[in-house]
Amino acid sequence: MPTVLEKKKTVRINGCVASAQAAKYADVDVIAAYPIRPYTATMMALAQMVANGELDAEYIVADSEHSQLSIAHGAASSGARVFTGSSGVGVQFAYELYSPISGSRMPVQMMIADRTLDPPGDFGSEHTDALSTRDMGWLMGWACDAQEAFDNHLMAYRIGEDPRVLLPQMVCQDGFFVSHITGDVELPDPTQVKEFLPPYKHPYPLDPRHPVSHGPQIMPEQGPPLQLERARAMEGSMAVIEEVHKEFGEIFGRKYDPWVEEFMTDDAEVVFFLQGAHAVTARFAIQHMREKGLKVGMARLRTIRPYPTDRVCEVLSKFKVVGVIETNMALGSPASGGALYADACAALYEAKERPLVISFMAGMGGEAIVLKEFYWMAEKMMQALKRGKIEKRTHWVGFEE
């Protein structure tokens, strides 16, 4: 760890600007922007940095998110480190590109500040936008505050560009709750970043000196080996993710559990299982409830792709009741509610002692999940604990007694 860190400083910025700062520290070469709230602020900040000469990058205002992603694809294919991002329906407009980008193994990085999908135009945060793309071969995880967002960006570049991985990354944060709320963010010394993040080098870029063809058509029988390779890369990234988080902690001094953050779980009987910004409120709610003697805790999922199945199983099976806070919508899904429930249940299936699992539809449409609602959810979990069985799989928080 460097001893003299003269340029290290703490600034008060929001999540969007933190992401922009991360892109700057990563010395990205190409930025593809297109406006949509709330992630726009990231691109605004980057535009200003380029205008000020703080960052030497091609800043492209694309004509759509579809173009944003294909610009990023083209630039990454040519050997450039790229940064792009979107929110809400913008994420979905670019949907076509997600599989081609991961299939061609281009470590494009995309920042997502969540936004509810239409209808109608709702600015609030809901994870459905990014989660709908979760099986496209992108590394994906949520930050719960600006500092974590900054750190996640740097780590995601390092993981995605690792020659053992070479996969694109979605670095997600909740719209508004992270993207637009300021907090203290420690910006590192550039030498730290240099030590942590080597320059991007794709092994087979579009280079006229070493010509290759990217993405030729294949025979049906060539599909399986290519898919298997992509699956191997996704699974193989787990070891790299752990390695990188460890190294990050050593260099920057902030240690993250790569998979699941546990809060007050040592003796907990019931836990909230969630991801993203609502964890901040959850921590306060838990502290209040603990004061009243309730054995409540929280397990926050930090990385959802690749899904840490074994770890989730190990953590959640310690408890009696697990309350999954969705903040996303998966209509007609197994719990007829959100998407996180199914993943959690699948992870727990092999457990010796399976907890009861309840899905809570909370924080929908970007509404804040207030303390009162956490208490209500804890109450529902406690009832199930007492009864030994759940009342129903999914509760719509705020709409039930």
């Binding site: 000196r209 290759v212 990217h214 030729p216 060539q222 080996p225």
Partner: protein, 610 residues
Amino acid sequence: MSTKGTKIPDWLTVPFAGITPAPSQDKGQNLFPTGNWRAIRPVYRDKLPPCNNACGTNEKIQGYLDLVKRGKYLDAYALIKEDMPFPSVTGRVCYHPCEQACNRGKYDEAISIRAVERFLGDLGQALTNDVVKPGKPNGKKVAVVGSGPAGHSAAYQLARLGYKVTILEKSPKAGGLNRGGIPDWVLPQNVLDREIERLVQLGIEIKTNCEVGKDVSWDDLKKNYDACVLAVGLTEPNSIRAEGENKADVLYGLPFLRDIGMGTSKVKIGARVAVIGGGNTAIDCAREALRQGALEVTMITVESHPEEMPCVAEDLHDMLEEGVELIHGRAVTSILGNGKVESLQLHPARFSGAVNASPINIDRTAKPESFVVDNVIIAVGQHASLAWLPQEFKNERGTVKMDRFGRLGDTNFFAAGDIAQFGSGQPLMVVNAVGDGKRVAFNLDKALRGEALQPRTIAIDVIMDLNRMNMTYFPHFPRVHQALLNPITRKKTQDEVIQGFSEEQAIEEANRCFSCGTCNACDNCYLVCPEPCIARPARSNGLYKILVDYCKGCRVCIEECPTGCLEGVPELDFDTGVVRMDTAFAITPGLHGRQAQELVNLSTRPAKDI
């Protein structure tokens, strides 16, 4: 870990993320030899351009025009010299059957081939040393009797083959018809002298004032030489069988020109001259008469129209420009005068078309016309003087008795030129005599080496027709004309009437050549091939190669070949180079595994030069 324990079998190994290394430039990508889609294969097969075919000595005209286009004049000159010993002469005097045959003539105007030939001939004249070298001496001696076009050509070719050649010429100066039959204002003597010099440089000995039958006998020739070419030409003028033709001052075409050419003429030409005959010699005589001082020259022909006259149209045009008058459809029946020519008696006449009788029908019942003249020049053809020839080699019509190769019996004597071609249907023109001399020389060589002789006519492949070429590629472009001296002044002098091409003119004119049926490396097939499977190691005529492993047989190249040298041949006609595969989509086994390995090694490979 779902992927734990998975293994991709060798046959399914694919490169990383399907990223495929680039194929090699020379071989193409080796996955799909698409050649088995093809039913018709494009093949480069040069056809005979019509000019080459029409030329009396089959000069490779398209070939040298193509070289001139590229500024390779010496190569072009060397190419002409394969068939033609004196391009500077034929470049002036030839009746250019090539231009009549030229495909461009059917499109806009024929190429001025003769002018380009003259340009090259003059270039050759200026060289200190000629490009042609004598062959390796084979120790054999050949006599060539006569130094006219046929003799010159035969001697030249024989010297190139390594023979020791001696030319026997009865006149004081070598050249034969080239000297004696062609006026100075068409062919200046110094041009011919230079060509004769070239013969001497080839080691040919020229004995002038040496007439066969007088200075040397048949037996001398037989004894002293291994073989002999008889090219004595037609020296005796034909008579018009008119009354009073025996007057002393009646002139005959060839002797008239010959005496002027040799500088031995004593003729004084009067003011009014009539020339009898409508051929090229007659035209030369008429124009020469003007230069000898005549004021009014009239040409009297049996032909009823200028277009029927057996002459070169341009020469007729130039003659008329110089003021010569034409009287058609008349025959001279009587030459009147008291001891000397004073007037002619004319009767209407026409050609009868008869073969065995007199070819001319004269209407003697019509009222005769009188035509007052000071001189009359008769130029109605000539015949050979063969008194020296042993009787066994003469046939009943007084011509040479020979086989179809020009060989006299089983001797090593060959007849060449006009004496051989007379009556054969071949035009009796310089270039035809040159061609005959060439062919006889080659056959003589074959005879001495005991090989089978070749017939007079060359084996004709396909003569390229305009309809089989793609005219899209040839914009209309006017012919480059040679400059002429002013007709008013030129008719008083011996100055050369037709001027030569400048370098720019020669190139411009050569550029008009279509290269009919012959690959001229235009690169069009190479450029339009959709595969592209037409390879070109170097840009050079006829060196394109079709990669038959890939050609799908679309025939775009054939359609777009400007010159028509590409043709489609059904694939079933070939038993080599055919792609055999189980299906159209068969892949080389293990290819993707190799690609995967190649991709891994990519960074260690030398970078492509960009």
